[in-house]
C-alpha cells in the first residue's frame, strides 16, 4: 500500500497551469538535493506526463482533474534518497504495457513525451486506478556526491493490477 504523499496538488487539465506544476516540482527537487539540471529535467518529465494526460487522456478537454503527489525518498543505509511523484487522473484507461515511447530514428513531430519521461526518471510505472483513470509513478534517486549527473538506462514498467485510488474529494 502506498503512503499518502507529503505534498499534494490538484489542478485542472488546462495547459496554462503546467508552469505552476513545474515550479512546484522543481523547487521540491532542489530542496531534496538535486542539482539545477536534474531539477529542470524532473520538472520536464512531470510537464510531459501532464501534457500527455491533457492531450491523449482528456482529448484536450481543459477542465478535468489531475492530482500530483510528491514525496521524498529519505536517505538510508540502502538508499541515497530521491523523489517519488505520483500523478493520477480520471482519463480513459489504457493498457499500461502499451505506454511506450516511439523509435527516435524516425524524426517527426510529436510522440516524444514518453521517451523523455523514461530518459529522465529512474523508474516509470503506469497503473490503472481501480475505478477510473490512470496513475503514473515517477521515481528519481539523487546521485551520490561523487557521481556526476547522468542519464541512466532505465526502462518503464507497467502494472496491470489496478491501484487503489486515493480519496481525492
Amino acid at each position: 500500500m502506498q503512503q499518502r504523499p507529503e505534498i499534494e496538488l490538484k489542478l485542472i487539465s488546462d495547459p496554462m497551469y503546467l508552469c505552476g506544476a513545474r515550479e512546484l516540482v522543481g523547487c521540491i527537487a532542489r530542496r531534496i538535493g538535486f542539482d539545477d539540471m536534474d531539477c529542470s529535467k524532473i520538472a520536464l518529465a512531470v510537464d510531459e506526463a501532464l501534457s500527455n494526460i491533457i492531450r491523449h487522456g482528456y482529448n484536450k478537454v481543459f477542465d478535468k482533474p489531475i492530482w500530483i503527489g510528491i514525496s521524498p525518498i529519505k536517505p538510508s543505509a540502502e538508499s541515497i534518497g530521491g523523489i517519488v511523484i505520483i500523478i493520477d487522473d480520471e482519463a480513459k484507461q489504457v493498457d499500461p504495457c502499451k505506454m511506450k515511447g516511439r523509435e527516435l530514428e524516425d524524426i517527426k513531430p510529436g510522440g516524444l513525451g514518453v521517451h523523455i519521461i523514461q530518459e529522465v526518471m529512474d523508474e516509470v510505472r503506469y497503473e490503472k486506478r481501480d475505478s477510473v483513470g490512470m496513475r503514473m509513478i515517477l521515481t528519481k534517486r539523487a546521485p551520490r556526491p561523487e557521481e556526476s549527473p547522468r542519464l541512466s538506462d532505465r526502462k518503464a514498467t507497467c502494472a496491470i493490477k489496478p491501484s487503489k485510488s486515493h480519496s481525492r474529494n
Binding site: M16, R22, M37, S40, E119
Partner: protein, 116 residues
C-alpha cells in the same frame, strides 16, 4: 530593421530575406501553438533564412521540439534555411534527450546565425 511583436514572439528582419523569431517566454503546450502559427506565417513570406533565437527561453518541452521539427521539415520543402541560436543548457538538454541535437543547425549567437 523591421520589428514586430506577436503574443510572446518578437519578430525581426535584420536583412532582406532573413527573419528572426525570438520567443520571449518558456515554450510548453500552452504556448507552442503560437510559435507554430508565427513560424508558418513567416515561412510563407518569401524568406530564405529563418532564425529562431531562444535567448529568452529558459524552458522548452516536447511540444516546442515538435514545433521546431515541423518547421525544419517545412523549411526543407521551401528552400529555407532554419537556424536555432542562443540555446541555454537546460533547453539544450531536451534536444539531447530527444536526440535532435544533430538534426538542427544550432549556433551560439544571433550574429553567427545571420552570417551562416
Amino acid at each position: 530593421m523591421a520589428h514586430q511583436e506577436s503574443a510572446f514572439i518578437s519578430i525581426d528582419r535584420p536583412e532582406q530575406g532573413i527573419v528572426v523569431l525570438a520567443p520571449t517566454a518558456d515554450i510548453d503546450m500552452s504556448r507552442s501553438p503560437d510559435l507554430r502559427t508565427s513560424i508558418r506565417q513567416e515561412m510563407g513570406s518569401g524568406i530564405h533564412k529563418m532564425i529562431v533565437d531562444l535567448e529568452e527561453v529558459h524552458y522548452m518541452d516536447s511540444s516546442g521540439l515538435a514545433t521546431l521539427v515541423e518547421a525544419m521539415r517545412n523549411a526543407s520543402k521551401s528552400d529555407t534555411k532554419l537556424v536555432i541560436c542562443n540555446m541555454n543548457q537546460k533547453v539544450s538538454a531536451i534536444f539531447e534527450i530527444a536526440r535532435l541535437d544533430t538534426f538542427f543547425s544550432i549556433v551560439v549567437s544571433r550574429d553567427e546565425a545571420i552570417s551562416l
